[in-house]
Amino acid sequence: MSVLRGWGRFSCAECHVVTARSEEDAREAVLAAPLIARGNGRSYGDSAINPGLTLDMTGMDRMLSFDDGVLVAEAGVLLGDVIQTFLPRGWFPMVTPGTKYVSLGGAIAADVHGKNHHVDGSFRACVDWIDLIGPDGAVQRVGPGDDLFDWTLGGMGLTGVILRAQIRLRRVETAWIMQETRAFTSLDETLRAFEECHDAPYSVAWIDCSDGPHHGHALLLLGRHAVPADLPSRRAPLETRHKRKLTVPFGVPFLFRGLWLRALNGIFWRRGAKRAGHTLVDWDSYFYPLDGLQHWNRLYGRRGFVQFQCALPPDRAAKGLKALMDAIAAAQTGSVLSVLKRFGPQSGPMSFPMPGYTLALDFPVNDRSLALMDDLDAITLAHGGRFYLAKDARMRAETAQADPRALSFAEMRARTGLAGHFTSLQSERLGL
């Protein structure tokens, strides 16, 4: 038995864990007991926790072939390994979330998205096929056009064990991003800028949700892959220096309350505003700023943190975001800098991203923030929004089921017999 946690360290359970090192290991586990597969443990809540049996897929981390940007790899391969292997050859993931420590299987199960969602869609857009072990232990290869493929992208591992997949990478000429920073002082200005910059390949904003004079201040970060001409002439375009990693030894939960929160947000914004304009940033710092800080999830202290992420439709986003930010400010808690991003069209039926805006932030776990999150859920639903399951650790079943897709997913799982074989604490909590 070992203790498994979500990345937020709030969800936690003693689990029977079996490591899969081969297809045979995975099949044996599937036939043994109801289970959930787990990648590198980067989902924030209880999506990859099943006390009865959790199948650790990190032992299946082989890259099986690579040809002209098309990679076949086992589910336990990390996106960071893909970058380390292929960036020097001029290839980069088509879609990447904010951590490179996500496994391929996890990226598929959550159908993760990145700063380019408005242009390129979610992770699904780069997946050609998936090998999935079903309840009978047989392996099925599914691709676009198959129902099971649709359910699996965003299906949180509840459609079977993802064994391996074929994905397409993107050609890049350098390992650098040309970043443009713009500073704004209100949500409305920021949203307007997002609409004007719709063709920037990457875009994301950090916005201050804290209470006080900086409320609504935002930094819009636009990016594109740099070309060799952007670089100082002496630099090898595909090389970057290995970054030194810092480790968080202990938590500092007081930083995420009232005064401190306000002060830190102010400092971040002023620092960003001062550096507004174009800068050259290496891929690691641009896409994965938090990966440089090992165990950053310890910052919030022993009880851990919960993450809130919702998406709102375009016509109601401005109002909804304002209501969410007001509620957060009034509660005087939350993370330093919330993330705001424009989404493009929805990639697949189970994908979380939908046209409109998404807002994401962390809260240290305490009674006040848990109560606040219930309020944020209600505000989101009132504005036609939905929630990201990879971030969720505490939602109520009725909240999740307000999304009509939850019911059809649960109905499909019951009808096809998946429900009896693939379950997680999250699927039980939300009735998926």
């Binding site: 070992s2 081969s22 032992g59 082989r62 890259m63 072939s65 990679l71 292997t85």
Partner: protein, 251 residues
């Protein structure tokens, strides 16, 4: 070895018992450093996916070799059939079940053969071939369990103790002949051997750490390495406990 294009080509590295988690990590370390890899194990077609992984990640040549550590009579032919490697790493071993080993001497003998007799036999053949060539490095993955016998795994431990002594003697014999021997003493490593066991985090290494440590030890011609280094201290303390006290402990 330098080719006329000016690029350095690296010598092949043989990995015996290539199916284990430690062996896989070691293979990645050496392939990452540009070495062609020879993977050897029983039922070697099972290693095909590992071979594809190494080729895909590192673009090096990988070959598969059928090898049974317990079939000592085949070892001479096995070595004769190889492109003699520059580095040979023996990761053969199995913990066995101590309760079963204690109750049934025959199953204990199997554990001893797997961890001592088989590895010693194949390394002896490789040592002789490297001695004849006048160069090479042999690496034996032994265990801290061999540093002192304990009730919980003394059959495995005694076989590893024998293997450690064998490596030490081999190093002594081959020292003047330009063949180097590295003894690797892993403590706890997150591998199949430890699946389902909880071990103290500061004493538990990832297989990747062992892979990196072995590559470094070969390149710097170290004699005996502990992974993690804290184990050198832990085992010094355990060895220093007087027997009248040690026999009453349960470590």
């Amino acid at each position: 070895m330098t080719t006329d294009t000016g690029t350095t080509t690296k010598g092949p590295v043989l990995i015996l018992g290539a199916k284990s988690d430690i062996a896989r990590a070691i293979a990645r370390s050496f392939a990452g450093a540009g070495h062609p890899i020879q993977l050897a194990a029983r039922d070697c077609p099972r290693l095909e996916d590992d071979a594809r992984d190494l080729r895909t990640r590192f673009g090096v040549t990988i070959s598969l070799h059928e090898f049974d550590a317990l079939a000592g009579d085949t070892h001479a032919a096995f070595v004769a059939g190889l492109d003699l490697p520059h580095v040979a790493i023996c990761a053969v071993g199995a913990m066995g079940d101590q309760t079963q080993s204690a109750a049934d001497p025959l199953s204990a003998a199997h554990v001893i053969r797997t961890n001592f007799e088989g590895p010693a036999s194949i390394l002896a053949h490789l040592a002789n071939a490297m001695e004849a060539r006048g160069s090479g490095t042999l690496v034996g993955i032994s265990s801290v369990a061999g540093d002192r016998g304990r009730a919980s795994n003394y059959v495995y431990g005694s076989a590893k103790a024998g293997f450690t002594a064998f490596l030490s003697g081999l190093r002594n014999r081959l020292q003047p002949l330009n063949v180097h021997v590295v003894t690797v003493l892993p403590g706890f490593v997150r591998t199949a051997m430890l699946d389902g066991m909880e071990t103290p985090a500061p004493l538990t290494a990832d297989p990747q750490e062992v892979g990196a440590a072995v590559l470094k030890a070969v390149n710097t011609r170290r004699n005996v390495i502990y992974t993690r280094p804290i184990w050198r201290i832990v085992m010094a303390v355990i060895r220093a406990i007087p027997e009248p006290i040690f026999k009453k402990t349960s470590l």
